[in-house]
Symmetry: C2
Subunit: 145 residues, 2 copies
């Protein structure tokens, strides 16, 4: 966890960017929270450890981290605000419970590679990326009457 943080920070530092309070704080938040956070959540969570900072800075930091491949942006279909999560490792999707709003991660075997190849063959459209989220009712909520 801590080594992941240093890894990211020293990478950024090596590229000539500064390591500021907010930068450290935001990256740390994403490392300790696997699930996607909205800008507003980041702002409120950050407020618990850093006393004064401006929301603009956070928006700019999110843009910066996205730009430099540290985090990626996600748009959930049932929400207005964008979310962000660490751009780490394997490609995954989300299960979103419409009742309790809980979010789980899920990986699909083979994912959509086959489909995307088909799309290229049949339409000449080269898929570089896709967004896929599942909406439904989680196990806990199904148990409840």
């Amino acid at each position: 966890m801590a080594e992941r943080l240093n890894e990211i920070l020293s990478e950024l530092s090596g590229r000539g960017f500064r390591l500021t309070r907010i930068r450290r704080g935001v990256v740390e938040l994403f490392i300790t929270n696997a699930l996607p956070l909205s800008a507003l959540e980041v702002i409120s969570m950050l407020g618990q450890s850093i006393t004064t900072f401006n929301k603009t800075t956070v928006y700019r930091e999110l843009a910066f981290l996205k730009e430099h491949g540290v985090i990626k942006e996600i748009q959930f279909p049932h929400e207005r605000a964008k979310r962000y999560e660490l751009a780490t490792g394997e490609h995954h999707h989300h299960l979103i419970c419409l009742k309790c709003r809980k979010v789980e991660e899920i990986e699909l075997e083979g994912d959509l590679e086959e489909q995307e190849k088909k799309i290229l063959r049949s339409r000449g459209f080269h898929v570089t990326n896709h967004s896929l989220e599942f909406l439904g009712i989680c196990q806990t909520c199904r148990w409840q009457a």
Copy 2:
């Protein structure tokens, strides 16, 4: 086309709702435009046939039509505003060109039923819905240098 319009309108009328200028206009727009429209697009397109109306009314009409299953809401991952399209027939997805912003519809054979069953079995999460959009470069844009 026209019969589809009457079908929808008389269905709504039968359920006790009124057929107003805006309602007719908005439904007609969705019937003649296969691809998803944003509220702002609806407002501007509507302006070409109806002289005076308020944007609030359009937002309310979109909420109404969604509520009553006439249209469905889509959130594209690269855009801010929500989009809407006729909730007609078969489930499909979209190919979104990141260069020219063109949107094409696509149907996937078998879709994700199998995956969703797996999710239920392995996690107890009951998927009721999913969102899937493909981002990439369309054939036309690939041809261009």
